[in-house]
Subunit: 499 residues, 2 copies
């Protein structure tokens, strides 16, 4: 999902100054409170080269009392370190209760830079992720707060910065051959980062993506994020002493990593083009359907999107040429009585397709992190841990050979209003629109924020999210069918090429 | 650790009848309470062939209201099941809130019987364990109680039972060729079970070993274990509604899996033999020490044991011929001020040996599950999760190439008293004995129970516990030096044979 994140985010001078001042004071206070409460904190800076880690660390610590923190730069390991198990250098640097340790690069080096350089064989990778997960789980179980920041710039931005650094004698040494290699092979490095993020984005130690194109935006987001995490930790510590889990308010919405804001909704195609394309794709799908049946490939397609974004229409076009014995559409409504007394994923597990079959979900298990989150139908801890649970479920499906794709049908608020009104005016479509649709619409911003977080946390290499520009229905339908066709073709090729 | 468990445990008729009646009534009541509280429960029966799973399931459910449970027998997977991801058959069988599902074999089949039959390649193994772990974590996070029972009989006992089954026409079909194969290659199957247990003994879903030689002992232990787990779940559910975590009393000590009860403390050797052997072994060690230095093998030796069991004397003999630049002894006392404000494993991480060096710990990180547990220096949840944390640390060391061995020096209560009195009488040794030693001695039973649980939960293939019969000091010293010598020789051979 990294490549879809909107990196153009900026902050204006005035808002920046205001945020800077507010968060700075807040951080100082929170540091003192964490010290009193004996809460140890680790702040990890990872990310692209020249994304400004050094500058940002420097900026962040200005707000902190220097007697209460340590900064560790983690370059290549030393001889002493290489003589010991990988985690030794980090375990020995754990902050004491009430102290803060800031890491400029960290235990993630092995699964990012070293993996890129081919120094870690693929078969060691899952062990390395496992070590990281258990390391962080052990620490957070013991009360550690782990804040993980991934500073992200585009390939072009990085190139520009490298060139600028090289142009001056004082800074040119900072750009290495390896740096340039990661720029030249940016996509490969991005993919490695993507896998790192999806394997280590745990509910007890989640990642925050920092859009680092605009330095002031990044600085403000980092301060706000750190302050929020410390505040949450203090709240939780106080609550644990008292009553049961209480909802901790979600703040700083303005700094959530955005995918939707970067979606170009003007994309469209003409009716003629649409007719031609959709006809071609449907015939193709018909053919591929028999292939996947023969090769026993299971397929899971999930559809989510705004009300009236056109899910129904797409599913109709998707299935019109398919053999009905080989696919099934599952509409997902509010859970019934039986479903309510089971694990929330149980009803979806019941509909896992057989090998060779297609299961199409009209709304999905993502209800947990969308409607249930926004409407408060589940506790905060529940939707927060759902990202990992859902990733695990989808990874299990993918490991069993399934094609798993999720579509987010995106329209803007105006387009939705237009469609709602059309539906109300058309006696044949009136049933499609209810009071609830209008109510949901009022919570647009909350939903948008939930959608953004969902897209960032659950788009994986094995089960990607595809954001579909849906203002033009024709464009949306063609994009979706095309995506499915290509995914099936890829999978068929993979299976046929197996030795 | 399986092979060290005392399988001779029995129960007398009268105690059995009493336990049976008590637990039966209790189970009925607890089932109703769990139903009211909406707690779903899964009870998993795994174990050796002919260990009596069917009989025991049948016996257990007699105590339950049949309207509230389902029993699932998990034979080889059906065609329908093979067409879907591995976990599908279990996820779809989840009990609803308030119901109990009993599994006769389960999702562990793949990592036991199928692994034994060579149906699962080694490279898929860690993925399979990972699936199991996340499956159980997802469920318990959602409030599921998972009770996992491993029914264990010896090879001889199994053989006897197979023969008996075969001797009658009605039952002979129940013994298959695969059953006999697992008996013939009992040690290999045991090793597979051992690895299964150590990879899936999580604090949220721990295993209980059922010594199944005596059917009535097993039945009583199973009932008691299930009742205890349900009671704990109810307590926790009630507590979560109210104040913070409270200590749940640990009960049913009498049914804890025992290792110590099977230790033969009469083992001894003569002074002459001792002198000859110790001399030979020390010279051998001196030679091996230079080898491991050359090959850069790190070595971690941990010593635990009863007060006055002879740890100091052993460590002296172990190190007397070693180059002091190549080893270090770390005595472990109560944590100091600095250590107290760090993670409890931090101080031990600081002493992880460099490659090629030996670290000897006189008392270890196991203090967490011994003295801290018994004396209440940490919370129940903390020592319970420590088993997994410690296993993870030791596995990290072993993966980095280290030899890791832990010794439990065992003596009986009489021997300890004798030694205490000797120390008091001897002016040169008086410093070795304090009031605290006498106080600890009063808690012998509590410590014994903690030691048994520690040995069962943390003896792993990569970092085994060695229980040392210590009433005869000569015997103990020779056994320990011999164990170290053999482990080093094995490791050196392994490293030298590496391509």
């Amino acid at each position: 999902m990294l490549e879809k994140i909107d990196l153009s985010k900026k902050i204006d001078k005035e808002t920046y100054k205001k945020t800077e001042k507010e968060q700075s004071e807040k951080l100082g206070l929170l540091q003192r409170q964490c010290k009193e409460a004996g809460i140890p904190v680790m702040i990890v800076f990872e990310g692209m080269g020249a994304s400004g880690k050094g500058t940002q660390i420097n900026h962040l610590i200005q707000a902190l009392d220097p007697r209460g923190f340590d900064v560790y730069a983690n370059d290549k390991s030393t001889d002493e370190e290489r003589m010991r198990p990988f985690l030794w250098r980090f375990f020995t640097k754990l902050p004491a209760h009430g102290r803060i340790a800031v890491f400029d690069r960290s235990w993630y080096r092995q699964v990012t830079m070293e993996r890129f350089a081919g120094k870690i064989p693929d078969e060691d990778l899952s062990g390395a992720f496992h070590d990281i997960q258990s390391f962080e789980r052990q620490l957070t179980d013991d009360g550690m707060v782990i804040i993980k920041l991934f500073l992200y710039v585009s390939r072009e931005e990085q190139k520009k910065r490298f060139k600028k650094l090289e142009s001056s004698k004082e800074t040119s040494w900072r750009v290495t051959k390896e740096d340039w290699k990661r720029n030249t092979e940016y996509d490969r490095f991005l993919h490695i980062c993507e896998e790192m993020l999806q394997n280590t984005d745990m509910d007890y130690a989640p990642w925050t993506i920092i859009e680092a194109t605009d330095k002031e935006y990044a600085a403000a987001k980092i301060m706000t994020c750190v302050a929020d995490c410390l505040e949450d930790a203090l709240n939780k510590k106080n609550l644990n002493g008292g009553a049961k889990e209480k909802e901790v308010p979600v703040r700083s919405e303005s700094f959530k990593a955005g995918v939707l804001s970067g979606v170009d909704l003007t994309k469209s195609i003409s009716k003629e083009e649409y007719k031609k394309e959709i006809d071609r794709l449907q015939k193709k799908l018909e053919f591929l359907h028999s292939q996947i049946y023969r090769l026993r490939i299971p397929v899971v397609l999930g559809f989510e999107g705004w009300d009236a974004a056109g899910k129904g229409g797409v599913i109709k076009r998707l299935t019109s040429h398919l053999d009905p014995r080989g696919y099934k559409v599952y509409p997902t409504a509010a859970p019934n009585d039986i479903e309510r007394v089971h694990h929330y994923l149980w009803r979806f597990w019941n509909h896992v397709p057989k090998a060779g079959h297609i299961a199409i979900f009209d709304r999905t298990w993502y209800g947990r992190v969308l409607v249930e989150r926004v409407e408060g139908f589940c506790r905060e801890s529940q939707w927060k841990q759902a990202y990992q649970e859902i990733n695990e479920m989808e990874s299990h499906l993918a490991n069993a050979g399934a094609v798993v794709i999720k579509f987010w049908l995106h329209i803007d608020k105006d387009e939705q209003e237009k469609r709602f009104k059309e539906r109300q005016a058309n006696p044949l479509k009136q049933w499609k629109i209810t009071e609830e649709d209008w109510r949901n619409r009022e919570k647009w911003d909350q939903y948008e924020s939930a959608v953004n977080e969902m897209l960032v946390r659950t788009s994986t290499t094995y089960a990607p999210w595809v954001v579909v520009e849906g203002n033009c229905k024709y464009y949306a339908r063609v994009k979706i069918l095309k995506t499915v066709v290509e995914a099936l073709e890829d999978k068929i090729k993979e299976v046929n090429n197996r030795p």
